[in-house]
Amino acid sequence: MSPRLNVRKTYKLYVGGAFVRSESGRYDRALGADDEHLANIPRASRKDVRDAMAAARKAAGPWAARTAYNRGQILYRAAEALESRGDELAARVGEARGSDGAASAAAEIAAAVDVLVHYAGWTDKLPAVLGGVNPVAMPYLSFSLPEPTGVVGVIAPDEPPLLGLVAELAPALAAGNTVVAVISERWPLPALDFAEVLGVSDVPGGVINLLSGRRAELAPALGAHRDLNAIVDAAGDPELSADLDRLAAETVKRARHAPAATSYEAATDDALARLEAVTELKTAWHPVGA
């Protein structure tokens, strides 16, 4: 009997809840630690960025309108789904990193699961922490509540490829935003595998959109998109950061730059600051009496 031929995976972008090829038809080669060819990945284009933005905008209203409890459960469900495929993902990440990568890969995926759980628990606490009733000196019930800013662009760091992405993704989602993310350019496979985890969890299509390809091409296109509300940049490239700031100024986008999160602690110790960066505060005045 001849040995069984394995079935290779065709990696795709994750846009609007669907797995799609780049509209450009281009691809890049994902390489391992020793530059061995692991797989081909789609090389997303500026048009893919625009498509992802449209999907994220379409999903933004319904996602924000879900109850905090529901959004919390959906994020928790994503953590469950990642946990259940953790070994497999860790093996893939470890494989790519070479002989000593297995242990660190397992730790990274465990941290990513815990980060998702952490932020799943934020959805129904954020209003109590950031909002409240304002004791105004007039006969009004005045209160301030956090709301999502809308669509958030995430520029993920190269490393760690999964945790670095999840650490920026999770707070944006917990605060009620939808996300378009440019994933690790050097190690794209873990994030693209993670897209499959999301695909079978309950995260609605369009809430998370993941693009692989060249950061230098995609990040400015995302940062320049006039419908984007905020940009979260963890790529650690000062030149890119300054460019993203200048692009943000064109439509007064909120911009946050942060180092790549390399541990659970780094992703959660400043959780409130991460949430604040993608949150608006709305103050409402309603009459009392009269």
Binding site: L130, N134, A137, E239, A248, A249, T251, L272, L281, T283
Partner: protein, 486 residues
Amino acid sequence: MAATDTPRTRITWDYAPAPESPDHVRLRDSYGLFIGGAFVDPRDGQRVPSINPATEEPVAEVAFGGAQDVAAAVEAARAAQPRWAALPGRERAKYVFRIARLIQERARELAIVESLDGGKPIRESRDVDIPLAAAHFFHYAGWADKLRYGVAGRETAPYGVVGQVVPWNFPLLMAAWKLAPALACGNTSVLKPAETTPLTALLLAEICQEAELPDGVVNIVPGDGTTGAAVVRSDVDKVAFTGSTAVGKDIQAALAGRGVGLTLELGGKSANVIFEDAALDQAVEGIVQGIFFNQGHVCCAGSRLLIQESVADEVTAKLWDRMRLLRVGDPLDKNTDVGAINSAEQLERIEALVEAGVEEGAVRRSVACDLPERGWWFAPTIFTEVAPAHRIAVEEIFGPVVSVLTFRTQAEAIENANNSRYGLAAGIWTDKGSKAFEVARALKAGVIWQNTYNKFDPTAAFGGYKESGFGREGGAAGLRPYLRVS
């Protein structure tokens, strides 16, 4: 449209002049820059008169700072910062409380100078600007020794030296909104008042002296846009700006990649939404308050009036009747509703946009009133037959001009209200509570007023969505822009 003709509307009630006397005001002939606790001559700046927009007469001469002056002010603030931040919170608090109390003591003088320098009706500077400025300092003074409670228990540290640039529409109040939280949090400041309205900020400098605030904690450098740009480009740790969206974008771009903190409170084209189930007479008062308050020189002015079609004619007729009763004129007269336009430049801007409104096919009506011969004035104006794409429905006019659009359903009202690059404020007029809450939630704006408009309080966060800026002023949220947390 003709006013409703009834025996009552034919009665004319005339007011005798009721001017507030400026005798109590003690202004110097000339003011230097307030740097390091003293009024000093400008190094590379110049002296210019500050003009009363109601008379075109100079009120006093002030120094405008140049780049070297700004650098000197930043240096003074830098030198003062460590000791100011190291003071126990309760001691910092007492300084800020002193400022609040001194503003209350000098309220009458401040109100008159505000109206002289900026053209706003004395009724507003007396009842709104000055009391709110004092209240703001009073509120934030009490935060100085409770900062961690305001940021969910996190460790706090001040930014350091903050550069603060404020507009001409609420000169003292905006200075208070900037300085009070900055000082409470342990920052020192270089504040640039607006080109056309520097005087009350300079009186505030005197108040800082009288409060014995340590030298260099507050530095006030009047000037024009060049001075403002120098502040932005100086060695400050954080910039806070209130003003136009265009300038806000320039500032954000100028700070790109520098890691300097930034908060922006920018322009607006706020929707004031009138539903058919609103108390219409009350709504008309609210519309007037929303757009003619401070001559419409209000970033959150209700300049896009959205009226449900079924009551659009009725509301528009009532509004026009009410507008014709507005008293336009001497800002110092206690009966004046609408004062002078702040500057010739702003008047030109208003006139240009109003002209565009007419050219694009909207129907203009301006109240026929006797405007003083000198000074800068614009009669309260309403546009009907406005299309959503007209410039007067899209661009900020910043004057006493309201554009009326209509809608049929609640969903259409929400869509139209949100169809703007701005998102500062909105008004909702309905007597149905559940509807008000539902619409308030759907509107993309930082402040929502139900059955009222233009209400401000130091405990209530204020600030915009989208291109109306980011960061909040007021309440605990107003501390965050002035603190690093960990």
